[in-house]
């Protein structure tokens, strides 16, 4: 059993009815995520990573099984502002400044003007964007835009951060840098993070738990609890433990592919 259970999925099933017939996006997915964990979902595209994250967020209704977030249904959890969601594209509104974009959820949720300003300043500092409040999105690099979108997800103090390939569109150097920053942010805020990626080093570097998935139907093939310490300098990626975990992830991915052929 996981201590301080935050997210719990039991035998989750989801079938999309499409014009080309049913698509079995998730099959018999069971997973428990404890408070403060950093969980990565890795697998080839189409294996249901996004779908699973969307189920946690209540953006998708499972067709079978149970899922609970903070002991509530995903819908209730969303209304209780349990999570912030970061999409692959930063999706900042081009007509709002960076500060205005980060303020968006606060406006929707009805925070007072003073509290909005205070929170925007705080989370912008958290993602190292202080001073860019009045800039428009096009004036920022892709990496900075993605940091702004993370700040936006943090602004209303959700305990859970769900991130769907947030750095997938960025180059490797920027990505390394953001990964380091994300770990620092995670350490400081003690959030529970669900993180979709298809980069093995990224998954191993970031996670306390790595969930390996495989497609058709989308399912979990391996769950790896990382023995790496929480404190992780970038060069930990050259250590023996790191390489061993990376191997195990790769094997899991390969196994998933074999019974697919």
């Amino acid at each position: 059993m996981v201590s301080n259970l935050i997210i719990s999925a039991q035998n989750l099933d989801l079938t999309f009815q499409t014009n080309d017939g049913p698509v079995h996006a998730l099959k018999d997915v069971s997973l428990e995520i404890g408070k403060g964990e950093f969980v990565s979902f890795i697998g080839p595209s189409g294996c249901g990573k996004t779908t699973f994250l969307r189920c946690i967020a209540g953006l998708e209704q499972p067709t079978g099984g149970q899922i609970s977030v903070n002991g509530m249904t995903p819908d209730e959890a969303r209304k209780a502002r349990a999570y912030g969601y970061v999409f692959q594209a930063a999706g900042l509104y081009p007509w709002r400044t960076i500060g205005g974009n980060i303020k968006l959820p606060l406006e929707v949720m009805g925070f007072s003007k003073a509290e909005q300003a205070e929170r925007v300043a705080r989370v912008m500092d958290l993602v190292d964007l202080s001073g860019f409040q009045k800039k428009f999105p096009w004036q920022l690099s892709g990496g900075m835009q993605q940091r702004a979108s993370i700040a936006r997800a943090l602004a209303f103090d959700a305990d859970i951060l769900l991130m769907d390939e947030p750095f997938g569109a960025l180059d490797e150097i920027v990505r390394d840098h953001l990964n380091e920053q994300l770990l620092a942010l995670w350490a400081r805020t003690e959030k529970t993070i669900g993180f979709v990626t298809h980069s093995i080093p990224e998954a191993v570097y970031l996670s306390t738990k790595i969930v390996v998935m495989s497609p058709r139907p989308g399912r979990i093939t391996d769950v790896i609890d990382s023995p790496l310490p929480r404190e992780r300098p970038l060069d930990i990626r050259d250590s023996k433990e790191f390489i061993e975990i990376a191997h195990r992830v790769r094997d899991g991915l390969r196994a998933g592919h074999q019974d697919d052929v």
Binding site: A57, L59, R78, K79, Y83, G84, Y85, F87, A89, G91, Y93, P94, W95, R96, T97, L104, P105, E107, V108, M109, F136, P137, W138, F156
Partner: protein, 289 residues
């Protein structure tokens, strides 16, 4: 920058002028010949050509005749005079602006309804399209007659015809604009449990602004056409349409052409004004310069 844009424009203008003057010669020659036959006089070729550019009622007036008439009926007349094109232009412009306002409001409201209600989407859009397939020339007299019979006349009937033409581009543009946010942007708002009205004010409406301006430019030009058309069937005595009509009754081709040019200048001015408003608004909305 200046040279690059001005030179081609002047070249095109020069070519048009040359063609126009050239076209006047065959168009107006018959009258000159007729006059010569009647009086028994003779003319050299150059005199003949000069005459085709200086007739009082030419079939095709020469550019300088139209320009002189425009000058004479704008700058040289008091704006309260029935002979002033500015006076007539204002009559038409006021109906245009009222109609444009009504049309735009109606267009935006319909678009909001269409985007939010499936029933309206299914029912309104086909009718909006049908409404535009009926020639305005056929509808305009009916609108005017019907309104006249209930005691409405003057600017309002013209404005309604104007609105009839201008609401359509606004509906089409706004529906597209309000639907322009992608699934991800809508999902983001769902994660905040935003309601429909918040999605509308914070996402759909701002996202539709560029589309709105594109529609407004088409709409304002259509509004002007509507107002002018609205002046034709009543035999109105005021407005650019009335000038067109009177000109054709009395064979005053120069007057017709100058009214046409006044309408074109007015349309260009209105479109340019909206273009300016567009630039200012979009710049304020963080558009990349």
């Amino acid at each position: 920058m200046f040279k690059r844009s001005v030179l081609p424009v002047l070249t095109v203008l020069g070519v048009i002028m040359a063609l126009w003057y050239a076209a006047c010669i065959p168009m107006n020659s018959a009258w000159t010949i007729q006059q010569l036959e009647r009086s028994g006089e003779t003319m050299t070729v150059s005199e003949h050509i000069a005459d085709t550019w200086a007739q009082e009622r030419p079939r095709l007036p020469a550019p300088h005749q139209v320009a002189a008439e425009l000058w004479d009926t704008t700058v040289m007349k008091k704006i309260t005079s029935k002979k002033s094109l500015i006076y007539h232009g204002w009559i038409t412009l006021s109906a245009t602006l009222l109609g444009f306002g009504i049309g735009t409001t109606l267009g935006v409201l319909l678009a909001v309804g269409i985007v939010h209600s499936r029933a309206m989407d299914m029912s309104v859009m086909p009718w909006a399209i049908v409404s535009q397939t009926i020639p305005i020339i056929a509808i305009a007299p009916m609108i005017i007659v019907v309104l006249y019979s209930i005691g409405v006349q003057g600017m309002l009937p013209k404005a309604i015809i104007s609105a009839y033409l201008s609401f359509f581009p606004v509906v089409v543009g706004m529906v597209k604009g309000l639907r322009s946010p992608d699934a991800m942007q809508l999902d983001l708002l769902r994660t905040y449990s935003a309601n429909k009205s918040q999605s509308f004010w914070k996402l759909r409406l701002p996202a539709s602004v560029p589309y709105l301006f594109a529609s407004l430019k088409i709409g304002v030009a259509a509004s002007l056409v509507g107002a002018i058309v609205g002046e034709l069937p009543t035999g109105a005595v005021r407005g650019l349409g009335a000038r067109l009509l009177a000109g054709s009754y009395y064979g005053q081709t120069i007057q017709i052409w100058s009214a046409l040019f006044a309408a074109a200048i007015l349309a260009a001015g209105l479109v340019a004004l909206i273009g300016l408003l567009e630039r200012v608004t979009l710049r304020r909305m963080g558009e990349r310069p």
